[in-house]
Amino acid sequence: MNAVPPIGAGKGPVTGQGCEGAPVLHERGQREVFCGLTGIVWLHRKIQDAFFLVVGSRTCAHLLQSAAGVMIFAEPRFATAVIEERDLAGLADANAELDRVVTRLLERRPDIKLLFLVGSCPSEVIKLDLSRAAERLSETFAPAVKIRSWSGSGLETTFTQGEDACLAALVPDLPAESADAAPSLLVVGALAEIVEDQFSRLFAEMGVENVRFFPPRRSGDLPPVGPRTKMLLAQPFLAETARLLEKRGATRLAAPFPFGVEGTSGWLAAAARAFGVDEEHFFRVIGPRAERARTALARHREMLQDKSLFFFPDSQLEIPLARFAARELGMRLVEVGTPYLHRGHLAPELALLPAGTTISEGQHVDNQLDRARAARPDLTVCGLGLANPLEAEGLPTKWSIELLFTPVHGFEQAADLAELFARPLLRRSRLVA
């Protein structure tokens, strides 16, 4: 296993190794993935005073309910304005209907401070202009409620891209940093609260000040942005959010994503470099944590070493996770599928991926299943629509959505992340009947 990389590593592109320029298998066909509406399932808990109103069909309502709803027994902070036959008759009517629904909702939930109108496939196909509706309704309900819109449709977004679209919708609302602002660090991407707190402590110890997280836990607590803002992406699926933040002057720090010891070290090192943290001090801060994480990882490495691993596309986390699995757990990568590959944001990851790894972008699910069956990987990371059927065929699986719903970033979670991969194999070895 690699030691903590030197603070200067990863600055420029690593050439002649890794997968940076490697060919990617592009596939088109049936995609067995979620649409971006699914992001609501975790975003409604992250931003606690926000409400997500999907404007869509019964299918959208049913998706949300199936993905999260039936497990949630409290009043949820999401709902659907279900388009009916009469809404399809004329657009003006649809807008009036939307106003009526929003009014009813806000009467029912006076605690809402931020309302997202979330676009869906049907609302996009009938070209219902939700951004104008958001403007109109914002005026009506200001200042108590701010209303914004974004698209979580399957036409536009795949699974985690819903978070990207949601955060991108908030970027124009971020206050401009003041003219005499000190350099600040903006961590972008919804993180578990425990992870956010750990990173806050690490940055403080490193001496990096003015660290803010986006999205915030409360909608009124938006971090400022401007030319002195440096941002670290905590998630690999934030293409549009990063682009808009860059347009507002922020600088993205190139770094691997903070999964595992190596990813977390590289990610923190990018901030340390940008904020002129003394190298020795940096190692003093992260060294013991990295060491502790490595020790915790070793147990799982024993079980996972040399096991083969196949990723179906799902969240765009696949490439960073494959890098972690290959380099820190010693697993062999059969195929790493991703719904969408952002070469810019993933360059540091691709450089670290073992040379010759098969990367696929997009999906033809039946062909990909054929490849998985032929390879018979020791572990397959895939969605819930495929997991039980593959198990029934004798292929051990790890269902991928859990990787979004579990704290997996940072040093302290490195072993937890490894355990997510190890647990299905451990379970198989335990069940004798």
Partner: protein, 567 residues
Amino acid sequence: MQLTVWTYEAPPHVGAMRIAAAMEGVHYVVHAPQGDTYADLLFTMIERAGKRPPVTWTTFQARDLGGDTAELFKTSVKEAYERFRPQALMVGASCTAELIQDDPGGLAKALDLPVPVVPLELPAYQRKENWGAAETFYRLVRTLAGPHAPPPGSKRPVREPGSRRCNLLGPTALGFRHRDDVHEVTGLLHRLGIAVNVVAPLGATPADIARLGEADFNVVLYPEIAYQAAQWLERTFGQKATKTVPIGVGATKAFVTEVAALAGVDPAPALDDPHCRAPWYSRSVDSTYLTGKRVFVFGDATHALAAARIAAEELGFQVVGLGTYSREFAREVRAAAATYGVEPLITDDYLEVEEKIAASSPELVLGTQMERHVAKRLGVPCAVISAPVHVQDFPARYSPQMGFEGANVIFDTFVHPLMMGLEEHLVTMFREDFEFHADAAPSHLGHAGVREPASAGANGAGADAAITNGPTTNGAAAPAAPATPVAAKTPDPHETTADPPPTANGNGASETATPIQWAADAEKELHRIPFFVRGKARRNTERFAQERGVSLITVETLYDAKAYYSR
């Protein structure tokens, strides 16, 4: 547009999937945007199927809309046929594809495949899951069995009574307890000497569907799914269909009698079952305390009707609310509601159901997964009787709802969430126990501590907050936490409808009446009444006071009202 927090039914194409996934040898190609494949996990996770549903999705994206989505659909159909080689193919659109109007049926027909192709027209903005399933099953039956129809007017060949056969129609994938109901009903039929010709759609192949006409009559287990197909079979093949759904002891006996008459056999061998324990359990003195328990029933029409009948006739409960989201069977539910003297609730609006439950302050809610949400908020015991349900209601153990074993299962399920008899007596006698008090959950459920009626942002009405001080109006306790305005506006039309108030101003009185005050000692006395009936006591007293123009409720008013309503 309809504001939808929870939806009782999925869109109609999920109903079609339930037919495809139930069967063998059919494949379904759905024109749908990326992401609609979420529906696969209903089958692989909730029902824990060990294979993918036989469904191919086109999963088009925005960039495809600029190009030829019709071509994409045709390619998907061709590929699906070549890969899966089904004996019959179903094609259709999801809600978004319905808007782009590619005509899946026409496109698939143009491919000239060597198997029957069933085009499905499922209007996603008007209809829902069960309708989609019923329509799909009907189309399949017409397409596959139609060619075997005898010429109109021809007589059915008469089989010997001892060799009569029937079809079991209606069980699907993702159906509430369909798996075990089929087993139970097959057993009943077996005891009558009646063989099962085809079970459909669950487990049937297209070839099986083609020979539906060979049976002597049809047993319709789930009218929501199979009524339409059974009607067509009756018209086309002269097969009579059963009308009774055998859920509950009474209904099971009626079903046996009905089936025996259709088959021309003696019902006696199946009318009693030594393993049917529910009637004796219900007569045993331990069940006496169940008498008159107020129960609210909601679900699909079949299960709601059955549950209401069991509750009223077999458990001795009082039905204080009955409703369904199955608009197709609203008439039957209205008729049944009239016999219980309650106002029928025909709606698919979760918020309306919530409002009505709160207003009728039941002691037990029998409903769907969604009513569990409501019941939890109101702190009322609840049992699940109908889809939609989640993974825990697709159990590993044998758990039918139908037949005599179904009645046993139902007895246990309905009674379990209620506080047990001795505990109920003791919390009435001793109010201040630190552990077993009336606001605590039943101790046999293993939860310590206080229930949370209405405290966490829930409705004020119906669920009586333990900490209501000062004036309250007509049951709306107006909690400080985010309240739902629906509750405050609710008059209580369902209130003790078996026992109607003498004057006409029981309805809507809250809008105009002066606020009624509770004297501190009366409020205290009210809290001596056990949790599960306190809501009703509060309402009755307030209405009693209102009708008599009493503005301050004293302990005496409370007892006057009690005496008045118990007459």
